[in-house]
């Protein structure tokens, strides 16, 4: 009867450093929390009937989750996030299997890792509700709400299940310094890939990266009237004003 929340396993573009020659450098030690992590944690806290265990990988910050409600964090210390969502999901599924009584996994549904949550569910052999914005337990089921096109729908799945949560907004009230300091005292269990019976393969990365032909907006300067005139002229040339 344990709920698991997976966090800090999405590489957000804002964390990347793009060098002048097109090389991409990701943080080696610590990843910032994913854009959807806070929403996933809030949903997980609401779903947890008893214990709420956090799971992260080698670049995760256990204190981030502990300050938001986890009672324990399991960190797979020698596995890091790469571009292959399948490889990340395999490591996370092995970690979930190590948590006693794990029956419900909540994870942020990152737009930059659209395969992560479904592949995690695939490895666990559990159903998944993707793009959820909220979820509640109803008996032995979870009812998750999500928006599909112009309608809002409620999907009900039996537990065990994976619920992937998409944040609608940024975190409105993050924990204060006192909570963050207290969270550092909560337990962290570091495990290795070998402990989980999986291979510690390096993060999957591109063989080559280059700068795209155009990366920024064409900025139009000058006084407001001059800028407005130039912009309208450019938009007419684009054919979007007709």
């Amino acid at each position: 009867m344990t709920t698991v929340v997976v966090f800090n396993v999405a590489r957000e573009p804002a964390a990347a450093q793009v060098l002048a020659d097109g090389r991409l450098v990701w943080p080696a030690r610590k990843l910032p929390a994913g854009e959807d992590d806070h929403a996933a944690l809030a949903v997980a806290v609401g779903l947890a009937a008893s214990d709420l265990v956090g799971i992260t990988l080698g670049q995760g910050d256990p204190g981030w989750a502990a300050a938001r409600g986890t009672s324990e964090v399991v960190r797979v210390a020698d596995v890091t996030v790469g571009d292959d969502d399948g490889a990340t999901a395999a490591a996370l599924a092995a970690a979930v299997a190590e948590v006693d009584g794990a029956e419900l996994v909540v994870i942020g549904d990152s737009e930059h890792h659209p395969g992560l949550a479904p592949a995690l569910a695939g490895y666990l052999g559990w159903p998944v509700v993707l793009a959820a914005t909220s979820a509640v337990r109803i008996g032995s089921d979870v009812e998750a709400t999500r928006r599909a096109g112009r309608v809002e729908e409620t999907v009900s799945v039996p537990i065990p299940a994976v619920i992937a949560v998409a944040a609608a907004t940024e975190e409105s009230s993050p924990p204060g310094m006192k909570a963050m300091l207290a969270a550092r005292r909560l337990p962290v269990r570091d495990v290795t890939a070998a402990d989980l019976g999986i291979a510690a393969v390096p993060a999957f990365e591109p063989t080559l990266t280059s700068l795209p032909s155009s990366t920024t907006a064409r900025l139009i300067g000058g006084d407001p009237l001059q800028a407005a005139t130039e912009l309208v002229k450019a938009l007419r040339a684009e054919g979007v004003l007709e």
């Binding site: 793009v18 737009e111 729908e153 063989t207 795209p212 907006a217 912009l231 309208v232």
Partner: protein
């Protein structure tokens, strides 16, 4: 001999076809109604395997059944877009059961000896990346602008015995159509606006553009300055106008997800470092209280 598959649970998934290995036959697995299956059948694919969901059961519930069909044909490449949850759910099951690599933002796949060479955007399209994949690959494709032109239809292979996992779906609220979804031009406004009364200035700009007015989530949900069906974003309206003019919007990822389909994005913001400029095609760095009236005046004088 491996096979190439297209997973279709949304019409946009068909737009992935143009990015796949040129010349390779593609089989498709469709979960949806007859119209979606027929559309898939006319895109030049070799076969269409069709699962029609029972009323009240979400397409996602058939993910394992669909994966069984794909896995029965030794898939080397399984492609779809990241649009529909059900397509992603199918890919998740396939990937786990054949231990496939899963990549996203893919814009091209070609053969490179025994491997696949995959190109796409990484770090939110900050760079163009090339990956080499030696095993099976599940690829989330950045959809091309259009689906293949309709051609001769292949026959459908229905799978009426496909069993769903226990799951139910109910529509709890249908959003009232605001006109945003089909608008050719949309003006979006954010927290850069100081007061509700100032909306009139932005409405005037929208009027001169013959555009619909939209906003970020805080303006609708927190401040109530505009109806909730006017907020654009991940959990709000998704728009695909030819022109999206963002006024006083910072460019939060949740908002940008709602305008991804826009052809041209223009941003007006006083902060030159605002994230909206990284998503925009054109930008004016300036005070919206000066730029918006200027734009309205220029458009009115044309």
């Amino acid at each position: 001999m491996t096979t190439t598959w297209l997973v279709v649970t949304d019409p946009l998934d068909l737009c992935a076809l143009g990015r796949l290995v040129p010349g390779l036959p593609v089989d498709s697995i469709v979960i949806g109604d007859r119209a979606l299956a027929d559309s898939s059948a006319r895109t030049g694919v070799r076969s269409v395997h069709w699962i029609e969901p029972v009323e009240g059961v979400p397409a996602d519930a058939y993910a394992a059944a669909a994966a069984d069909i794909v896995l029965g044909a030794a898939p080397g490449l399984v492609a779809t877009t990241a649009t529909a949850p059900a397509s992603r759910a199918v890919v998740g099951v396939v990937a786990a059961r054949c231990r496939a690599s899963v990549l996203s933002g893919v814009t091209g796949v070609s053969e490179a000896g025994d491997a696949l060479e995959v190109t796409g955007g990484a770090a939110g399209n900050a760079v163009v990346a090339t990956w080499e994949v030696s095993g099976p690959l599940c690829a989330f494709i950045a959809p091309a602008d259009e689906a293949p032109a309709p051609g001769v239809a292949v026959g459908l292979t229905p799978h009426p015995d496909a069993a769903p996992r226990p799951s139910r779906v109910t529509v709890s609220a249908a959003a009232v159509a605001s006109g945003l979804a089909d608008a050719a031009r949309v003006v979006g406004v954010g927290r850069g606006l100081r007061s509700r009364a100032d909306l009139a200035m932005v409405e005037a700009l929208a009027g001169s553009l013959d555009a619909e007015l939209a906003c970020s989530m805080p303006l609708a949900e927190d401040l109530g300055w505009l109806p909730k069906d006017r907020f654009v974003g991940r959990s709000g309206q998704q728009v695909s106008p030819r022109l999206y003019l963002a006024v006083g919007l910072s460019g939060a990822p949740q908002h940008l997800q709602g305008v991804r389909g826009a052809k041209v994005i223009v941003a007006v913001n006083s902060d030159p470092e605002a994230a909206i400029f990284r998503a925009a095609d054109y930008g004016i760095v300036g005070d919206l209280y000066e730029v918006v009236p200027a734009l309205t005046a220029v458009l009115a004088s044309d």
